[in-house]
């Protein structure tokens, strides 16, 4: 036992010496190399460059190399930009239910922009009737881009995520198709590409734009994106600009301004929802939606169902 201990102590001592010598040698080598590099460029010619995120930096001239632009980088750039969002913005939508008369131009514009089949809805105009005695009304339902999004919480691979500007997006290059987000969303805002998407050949050569979610991919999720690609260009979303009845307002909560898609009239967001008793749907679920509704009061038209039987269906209450 005693002998054993001695030999161990001995070993540790030797190990210490070896490690110590090694460390000194390494440090010396690093210093010599550093010194050499410094002497190589005595004038210290520095070049000013701009980084991708806009910072002004300096690098030694001989370190400069030509940046390469490949197709791969293009996709990564679009995805990185799309994942980050637009700094300083906080997008919000207001839907005036008193004006919606089920024109469905929003649905058509949306399906056209996002490569969707007729039965696939990023935005869906629902016939609602809250109770038996209350009046029915039409309710366009996009994704509510919740600030406490149940879909983002459950995603196992970060394929759906919340951006700094409030938009909840989908990366269909990442999505594994588990559909947990569909189970998680209480507003049924999400759809799945059960088959090859519409016109798949036509979009085959297109670069994937995460902010448009086109081209769509079989076996992945899609949903309303608040037209993030249009937001980037300072335009209104596809559905908002397509509405003929002035139902939609869209804008930035930070600036407290929303613009009506039909009349292009700008309003104070806070004032609009205060004066008109704006509300969000099922706020008791704690999801904190970014889409506000103005109640369906003072409508100047009758509720006309698409066809008479549909008006009689009970499914206007709940599914």
């Amino acid at each position: 036992m005693e002998e054993n201990n001695n030999s161990r102590r001995d070993f540790l001592k030797k190990l210490g010496i070896v490690v110590g010598v090694g460390a000194v040698a390494t440090a010396g080598a690093v210093y010599v190399g550093y010194d050499y590099e410094k002497k190589k460029n005595p004038a210290g010619k520095m070049v000013k460059v701009l980084t991708a995120d806009g910072k002004l930096m300096e690098v030694p001239e001989e370190d400069l190399i030509q940046a390469e632009m490949e197709a791969e980088t293009q996709l990564t750039a679009l995805t990185n930009r799309g994942r980050e969002g637009i700094a300083g913005k906080s997008w919000v939508m207001v839907i005036d239910l008193s004006k919606c008369r089920n024109a469905r131009m929003c649905m058509a514009a949306c399906q056209g922009a996002h490569q969707l089949r007729p039965e696939q809805h990023h935005i869906n105009v629902l016939r609602m009737q809250d109770t038996e005695k209350t009046a029915p009304y039409f309710m366009p339902k996009p994704c509510y881009h919740c600030d406490n999004p149940p879909c983002v919480k459950v995603c196992p691979v970060d394929a759906t995520f919340k951006r700094q500007d409030g938009i909840v997006l989908i990366d269909n290059e990442r999505c594994i198709g588990c559909r947990f987000c569909i189970a998680g969303c209480p507003y049924s805002a999400r759809i799945f590409q059960w088959f090859e998407p519409r016109d798949v050949e036509k979009y085959a050569d297109k670069e994937y734009d995460i902010e448009l979610n086109v081209p769509q991919k079989k076996g992945t999720i899609s949903k309303c994106l608040f037209s993030a690609d249009r937001c980037r260009e300072g335009e209104l979303p596809y559905c908002v600009s397509a509405c003929p009845n002035g139902v939609y307002y869209f804008g930035d909560m930070n600036e407290d301004v929303v613009v009506n898609g039909t009349t292009k009239e700008a309003m104070r967001f806070s004032e609009l929802i205060r004066k008109n008793a704006g509300y969000t749907v099922h706020e008791e679920l704690g999801t904190k939606p970014r889409v506000y509704y103005l109640p369906p009061k003072n409508r100047l038209f009758d509720y006309v169902p698409e066809n008479p039987e549909q008006g009689e269906q009970n499914d206007t209450h709940h599914g």
Binding site: L126, R179, G219, G319
Partner: protein
């Protein structure tokens, strides 16, 4: 039981046990036919999967509203059935209950086969199975799916050890006895026996390891089914948004698992002619166990359905109405009556705990358990907060397709195949543990 036999008696007793338990491994009557049948199910299921890969998940009855169906029900059932390994070998074993010795391996085989396939069933349900590695490469700690993947793989690992460790002494015996077996089979025995020489140290190691594993597996097993229940309970949907899902699932799992083990016991007792080892006494005990777990599960059912039914919250009404009197009513009441309440009452009476009647009852219980998973998974998705409109009829009603049903059968065949292979390579009853109970000298168990 605990008296030690002398050398001569030891040898004879061991010889008898070995003969009884090894005989079925040589008898291949009907075996090829059974394997052929399972392979046929594999081919059919594989064909269905190719269709699904080619055309997309749209070949199933799933659509945007009911987007989890047979595959996920199957997954929940598989996880449930796999829990039995923990109950039998671990909980009862730690309580020093002796009668489980001849059935512990059957329970472990069932547990491992179901747990292994549970992971694969999930891949069948994925829209992009090619991206399965993303679950680890881009893992997000917040998602219950990551928790599930973690605990299921851990459970498979521990269950494998719990099955393999007690195989070591048996493999050593098989190495000695099965000298006429093919080379590969002898190689397996040599590998598994891991240099077993029946020394007291080896016995100490193997017993201690099994004890540690038996303790470790309890929290892991509870975790796999609790986390599986959270896949549903972590959402806001009426019917899933409930706090008792964890224990509700776990107790339901015990019911399914006990029934599965009883069916397995009956099968091996008859086909492997093991009536002297898996006796009426064991069926009687398992019957009592089934009564106990069924009572607990019944209690959770009362809580799960009567409490919301008393309050009748708007959203719960649609869900409960569908189950109690609507389109799922026939299935719901059949499952509750024939899968839980009637078996529970019958099994209170001793004659029904005889092998044949209890096996028949267990078949009802296990079919009921499978359908119960379906009733948990599917109806809750049909009742959304906002109405389902402007979509074709097949988006509103979930109707499983032929492709989907064929592909659902594949993992079931897979489970049976794993059990079949293990039960053909190794004795379904641990020779060394039985011999030890009969007082055979431990040092000759090699």
């Amino acid at each position: 039981m605990n008296q030690t036999l002398n050398q001569e008696d030891s040898k004879n007793t061991l010889r008898k046990i070995e003969d009884d338990l090894i005989r079925p491994l040589r008898n291949h009557k009907g075996f090829e036919l059974w394997i052929l049948f399972l392979l046929l199910m594999f081919i059919i299921g594989g064909y269905a999967y190719i269709i699904q890969l080619k055309d997309g998940l749209g070949v199933t009855g799933l659509r945007d509203y009911v987007s989890w169906g047979l595959y996920i029900s199957n997954f929940v059932f598989f996880v449930a059935a796999s829990l039995i390994g923990m109950l039998i070998s671990s909980v009862l074993g730690l309580l020093k209950i002796k009668w489980i010795t001849p059935i512990s391996r059957i329970a472990e085989m069932i547990a491992l086969a179901f747990a292994m396939w549970a992971g694969l069933v999930i891949i069948i349900d994925m829209g992009r199975p090619d991206r399965f590695p993303y679950v680890l490469l881009h893992a997000r700690l917040q998602s219950p799916i990551l928790w599930d993947v973690t605990v299921v793989t851990t459970y498979v690992a521990i269950s494998t050890l719990l099955l393999v460790l007690p195989l070591i002494p048996d493999a050593s015996i098989l190495k000695r006895r099965m000298t006429d077996a093919p080379k590969w089979q002898q190689f397996i025995y040599t590998m598994v026996s891991s240099g077993w020489i029946a020394s007291p140290e080896q016995y100490a190691i193997i017993r201690k390891s099994m004890r540690i594993l038996a303790i470790l597996i309890v929290p892991v097993a509870l975790a796999i089914h609790t986390v599986t229940s959270w896949l549903f309970a972590s959402t806001l949907r009426p019917g899933w948004d409930t706090t008792i899902f964890g224990p509700y699932f776990v107790t339901g799992a015990f019911v399914a698992g006990v029934a599965a083990v009883i069916i397995g016991m009956y099968f091996f007792r008859v086909n492997y002619r093991l009536a002297n080892y898996i006796t009426d006494f064991h069926f009687n005990r398992m019957g009592q166990l089934l009564v106990l777990v069924s009572l607990v599960y019944f209690y959770f059912n009362i809580n799960e359905f009567l409490v919301p039914a008393y309050k009748m919250k708007t959203m719960d009404v649609h869900h409960l109405h569908g189950l109690f009197a609507g389109k799922h009513a026939v299935m719901f009441w059949s499952v509750q009556l024939f899968g839980l309440i009637i078996p529970l009452i019958l099994l209170i009476f001793r004659p029904f705990r005889k092998p044949l009647p209890i096996m028949v009852i267990s078949i009802f219980v296990i079919i009921g358990a499978w359908l119960k998973r379906y009733l948990i998974v599917v109806p809750a998705q049909e009742h959304t907060f906002l109405p389902i409109q402007n979509v074709p009829e097949n988006f509103m009603v979930y109707q499983p397709t032929a492709v989907e049903i064929m592909l659902t059968l594949l993992p079931i065949a897979g489970v049976l195949l794993i059990i079949t292979i293990i039960a053909k390579l190794f004795p379904v009853i641990p020779i060394w543990e039985i011999a030890h109970e009969k007082g055979v000298d431990e040092s000759i168990l090699k």
